[in-house]
């Protein structure tokens, strides 16, 4: 036995090492995601037997006005979230000075990032309260009445996204600060000698060096936008009348509240398809950037 082990350990040992993590991730994350696609072809209440439905769930979904509302909101999330990298960069540039006390101030800027999204949701629920909230206070200062943003179907998604941007901007700020600390002093120095200053310097000398960090910031922002669920669940429960739902929330609601697991799985599959496009782009960029830096 030990003879056999010794002869084969050079390939058996790594196999044993990778097995627990790979099996767990492979079954619970990867296989489950594909199983969702399979379930989307059935009618299923989550408890009883599944009955084959073919493409019926998809036919219904593509005729469902709520699906287009959710999809549109996903696009709003994605577009508005694109403000996070530039604003994060702006904050990073603002605090990137070595002055006494700056380290502490900097770390206070990061706090939204470590708060649970539920906490952020509850906090912004306060901010938006039309009677007593922070927003109401500001409106009252100008003698105006604050709008009930979370009850207005045209404004609600924007209000939720602004709240979600708070931690996302902090995230991008952390990334860009690390990038700024890693700038090549030689290239900056050469830029200064050539008379580059301010905007010029930022655009032509600094930003090219932040490409890799910028790519990561963009990727985590896209993922953050497509993952949006917690804030919606906490702040609006998708309302009023489904106007703040996104695909992820609609999927959850159809499955857990309406017991339509097959239909929910069809929504999950659409989300999955969107993610696969993004992931393919990400992996290709990652390989390209890794080659560049070698």
């Amino acid at each position: 036995m030990s003879e056999l082990w010794k002869r084969h350990r050079n390939w058996l040992a790594p196999l044993l090492f990778i097995a627990p993590g790979a099996l767990l991730f492979g079954t619970i994350i990867i296989a489950s995601s594909f199983e969702s696609v399979w379930i989307s072809f059935f009618d299923w209440d989550g408890v009883g037997p599944k009955t084959w439905a073919g493409l019926a769930n998809y036919r219904e979904l593509f005729a469902d006005p709520q699906f287009y509302v959710s999809l549109k909101n996903n696009v709003i999330w994605l577009v508005m979230f694109m403000a996070a990298p530039p604003l994060g960069l702006a904050l990073a540039l603002l605090v990137n000075q070595q002055v006494a006390g700056m380290r502490f101030l900097k770390s206070l800027f990061f706090i939204p990032l470590v708060l649970a999204t539920v906490t952020v949701g509850v906090v912004f629920g306060w901010v938006y309260d039309p009677n007593y909230g922070l927003l109401a206070l500001i409106f009252n200062l100008f003698g105006a009445t604050a709008p009930a943003l979370l009850a207005d179907e045209h404004a609600v998604t924007f209000a939720v996204v602004v709240a979600a941007l708070w931690p996302q901007i902090a995230f991008c700020m952390v990334l860009f600060l690390a990038g700024l600390n890693n700038l090549s002093p030689d290239i900056i120095g050469a830029g200064r000698v050539d008379g580059a200053r301010g905007w010029n310097m930022l655009w032509h000398v600094v930003l090219p060096q932040l490409r890799q960090v910028g790519f990561i910031a963009l990727a985590v922002t896209v993922v953050g936008a497509l993952r949006s669920f917690d804030m919606i669940a906490v702040m609006t429960s998708g309302g009023p009348f489904g106007s703040s739902e996104v695909l992820a929330y609609q999927m959850y609601e159809q499955s857990i509240f309406s017991y339509r697991f097959g239909y929910g799985a069809a929504i999950a599959t659409v989300l999955f398809a969107i993610m696969i496009v993004f992931i393919t782009w990400y992996l290709r960029m990652m390989v390209r950037l890794e080659k560049e830096t070698r």
Partner: protein, 283 residues
């Protein structure tokens, strides 16, 4: 450095700068100050609609006492610990092993396995919700700590593997050649060469995983139901529904939920930031 450092010999300019940054910071954290203010008020003041005045009677301690005595927050808090701590430990163990193999063994399919870990870790939770929930129901783990622990370990292993693989791949090759020349087994190499060098990576990953798992809300509401196993995030949202008008109590509970991740962040700030930016920045 960019922007150009402020000159040392101009203390006024530096002072104005710090003042300006502090002003932006106050605006940035204004929502949080609002919660702190509310958490310091008495129920009477809240009832009277006085949210933004300075508290007449500083009531923070009493509000916290009320949270512990009249709500189940303490129970949720313990649940969160029971779920989070073993998850972090298991993620560290599994990802060290997977990261080591993916970084140091050139087998066929290595890139594919790595791509699956990386890609899978981006998937929104809802995509795998139905099968995972069904699995936990059918093996009798639904509404137990174990259901959440198993899921979190599986999911976080994706990001953690990416992290560990990159860290171990960046270690100098000579170390591994020397180990091979000495006839060290894979286990000995891992135990005596890799693990002693991993401390910063383990610390960074531990604090990140802690924050991710502690802050989870979605799986808490999908995989649990009873107060006996619910973590703080789900508990806080319940509380908000039950104590609609007692904002001072809800505010105190909100602060309480935020305490562990914020404390961990300040204690291990360097590791937290190193962890988040690792891979994003080389060197």
């Amino acid at each position: 450095m960019f922007p150009r450092p402020l000159p040392e010999e101009k203390p006024l300019q530096r002072g104005l700068y710090v003042g300006f940054v502090a002003l932006i910071l106050i605006l940035w954290l204004l929502p949080l100050f609002a919660v702190m203010l509310t958490a310091s008020k008495t129920a009477d003041e809240i009832m009277a609609g006085q949210y933004w005045t300075w508290p007449k009677h500083f009531n923070l301690i009493e509000n916290f006492q009320a949270v512990f005595a009249q709500t189940n927050m303490w129970g949720y808090f313990i649940n969160s610990l029971i779920i989070t701590l073993p998850s972090v430990l298991l993620v560290l163990v599994f990802s060290t092993l997977t990261g080591y193999v993916l970084a140091r063994y050139n087998f066929k399919g290595n890139a594919l396995v790595f791509a699956l870990f990386v890609g899978g870790n981006f998937l929104p939770a809802q995509i795998m919700m139905i099968p995972v929930r069904d699995l936990m129901v059918s093996v009798g783990l639904y509404d137990t700590y174990l259901a959440l622990i198993i899921f979190h370990v599986a999911f976080q292993t994706g990001f953690a593997t990416l992290f560990m693989r990159n860290f171990i791949a960046a270690l100098p090759d000579e170390l591994f050649q020397a180990a091979r020349a000495e006839g060290a087994s894979p286990w000995q190499t891992l135990r005596h060469v890799v693990i002693p060098l991993m401390r910063p990576a383990l610390a960074a990953l531990a604090i990140l995983t802690f924050t991710f798992v502690w802050n989870d809300y979605f799986w808490a509401i999908v995989l649990t139901q009873s107060d006996a196993v619910k973590p703080v995030t789900a508990g806080l949202n319940n509380l908000r529904g039950e104590w609609t008008s007692a904002w001072n109590i809800v505010a105190a509970a909100t602060l309480f939920v935020a305490v562990p991740p914020v404390t961990m962040f300040f204690l291990m700030q360097k590791h937290f930031i190193a962890g988040l930016t690792m891979g994003a920045v080389k060197g």
